[in-house]
């Protein structure tokens, strides 16, 4: 069964997993767990979030991974994009590879692993677990506040990358984490999982900046569980890749928990971005707000599905969701699909969605001040994203995102000229 060394086994089959285990060893996820996960990946259907929706050019049901080299024959030297300031290290904050985390922080690691995400109900989370290649464990002990953002970086350097990030933040701790997802040029396939476990009264900001290369395919499943009076803010900037699937679910499981979610995407060229956020209010007096801003140009396609579920026991829950999309070309298309499911009756829930173009009155106003049309469009479009971009942590990250957005608009102007 096992492949001889040096010859890649293509596809995400059992044979490929055999070869991976023979080549790399068991690693931090047991062989049994990996085979189980692979079996589930094969059995589970692709969830169809929209019934009767339009046919997508990039359809997960048609995803063909039969030629994928799911693991590199030459393992990377440590991909070392993490940072941990001396102050954070002294405070007892852990950032470790899974393999070392299991040696050194076994109890904390095992307590956290699987606490926010049960991969059993998700096809691509199962795939990520089966072939898990890179793992990062962050543990912030109770009561610790770290000002400087912690950075987790993954860069796809081969055909496939299966990252797993596990974050555990203790009671009353406070931390900001950046996840940077990149790839070298080429058609990388990235399929990963992030688990965020936020304990009581903790305050966590988790910002994702995905800027993989234009041929990459990215499927990320991220889940969070938020304890009493804790506050979690998760911000997504899904800017790269040819096809991005980004799913996030936050479960507010005790009173006073809050989840803020922000998503920014901009489909240009023939990019396709598919984002789904889900906020589950599972306890009373929990609050959430979601802000999504997106744009499409060229033949870019996008879809945002925003779910809010308020369970029967979530008395006094307060949820809001705001989703606005801007279309900058005739060929671009964005679907906005908010969905509220409310099973308690003393709650507040709001959602609103718009899809539109830049208004002529705004354009004329800016032009009448001497600003050229293309520059006015760029300024107005970048401004359109601002309510979402301003929620990201740090000036540097906000400026980086603005710059990427501006460049996408500029490239549109050049292509149109």
């Amino acid at each position: 069964m096992s492949a001889s060394l040096g010859i890649p086994v293509r596809g995400v089959s059992r044979a490929a997993l055999d070869a991976l285990l023979a080549h790399l060893g068991e690693g931090s996820v047991s062989a049994a767990a990996r085979y189980d996960a692979l079996a589930r990946y094969e059995e589970l259907p692709v969830r169809s979030v929209v019934r009767g929706g339009r046919g997508w050019k990039h359809d997960l049901a048609k995803l063909d991974l039969s030629e994928l080299a799911a693991f590199p024959l030459e393992p990377d030297p440590e991909i070392d994009l993490e940072s941990l300031s001396p102050a954070a290290r002294r405070a007892g904050v852990t950032i470790e590879r899974f393999s070392r985390a299991r040696e050194r922080h076994r109890a904390a690691f095992e307590r956290a692993f699987g606490a926010a995400l049960d991969t059993r109900d998700d096809k691509f989370a199962s795939l990520a677990l089966a072939f898990q290649s890179h793992g990062t464990f962050i543990d912030v002990p109770s009561g610790i506040s770290i000002d400087e953002p912690l950075v987790i970086g993954y860069e796809a350097r081969h055909e496939a990358l299966f990252p797993y990030t596990l974050v555990s933040v203790g009671a009353a701790a406070s931390v900001t984490i950046f996840e940077r997802l990149a790839s070298v040029a080429g058609a990388a396939f990235v399929c990963g999982v992030v688990e965020l476990i936020v304990d009581e009264r903790a305050k966590v900001t988790y910002a994702v900046e995905q800027r993989t290369s234009p041929d990459a395919r990215v499927i990320m499943t991220r889940r969070a569980t938020v304890a009493a009076n804790a506050e979690l803010n998760v911000d997504f900037a899904e800017l790269g890749a040819k096809h991005t699937v980004s799913r996030f679910r936050a479960v507010l499981r005790a009173p006073g928990a809050h989840a803020g979610t922000t998503a920014v995407f901009f489909s240009d060229g023939d990019q396709h971005v598919d984002i789904e956020t889900e906020t589950i209010h599972a306890a009373g007096n929990t609050t959430s707000d979601v802000i999504v801003r997106s744009a499409g140009t060229g033949r870019g396609q996008g879809r945002y599905v925003g779910n809010i579920k308020i369970l029967p026991e979530a008395h006094g829950a307060n949820a809001s969701l705001r989703d606005d999309a801007l279309l900058l070309s005739k060929g671009a298309h964005i679907d906005s699909i908010p969905a509220l499911e409310i099973a308690a009756n003393d709650v507040k829930a709001f959602h609103g969605a718009t899809v539109g173009a830049i208004s002529d009155e705004e354009l004329f106003y800016a032009e009448s001040r001497g600003i050229e049309r293309s520059q006015a469009e760029r300024m107005i479009a970048v401004g359109f994203f601002e309510p979402a971009v301003s929620r990201f942590p740090t000036d540097a990250l906000r400026d980086e995102i603005r710059l990427v957005l501006e460049n996408k608009i500029s490239s549109k102007a050049e292509a149109g000229a």
Partner: protein, 257 residues
Amino acid sequence: MSERGLRISDLQASVEGKHILKGIDLAVSPGSVHALMGPNGSGKSTLAFSMAGHPSYAVTSGSVTLDGEELIGLAPDKRAKAGLFLSFQYPAAIPGVSVANFIRTARQAVRPDDLTPAKFRAMIFDKLDTLDMDAAFLSRYVNDGFSGGEKKRLEMLQLAMLAPKYAVLDETDSGLDVDALKAVGKSVNALRESEGGKEIGFLIITHYPRILQHIAADHVHIMMDGRIVKSGGPELANVIEREGYDKIREEVAASVG
């Protein structure tokens, strides 16, 4: 052609196929202040938008020259670069774009690289002060959630920062309380007294004469049904103040009949 001034000759324009401007002739020389008065629906705002190049306003004949340069046919930004400024009656909101960023971008567009960032800052703070505005105003989004008075103050701030050759103020006084109107008057007068502002020619479009108590006009024109029907000195505004537009309407009807 090389004569200085903002010269409007036989300007005719229509909106959505409706003929509104039926031949306007008007010349504003540098440093002068003209008031254009008229009842609602007389075509005053159509004149302002036609001059500025709003795409919904089709100029069917005539010309507008700015110090000899023909504006009709130019893109709106080119007209601004030529030296025209329009203060909007209803300025558009641009969410997500700060006042400071907007004005910096506009200034850079009409007068590239003529101010260092430090000088720009000093200038904008000075102009804010004249308008009784707070520095916090600069970080707000352009006209987003602004009161009527704040919108007009922002128009005046842009006017002062861009220092055009000719400024058209479209109903700047409408919807303003006394304090805001005073601030607008103070700002325009300060600009006219400043080094770079002496030569600015103004066309003040208004329904009511009250703004002219704050900004002194040299010439007053009365517009009705798409034409200028009467021109005169500042005293003409007083006639409107006392008697409204009906008397003039009767005079015009009599002279035509």
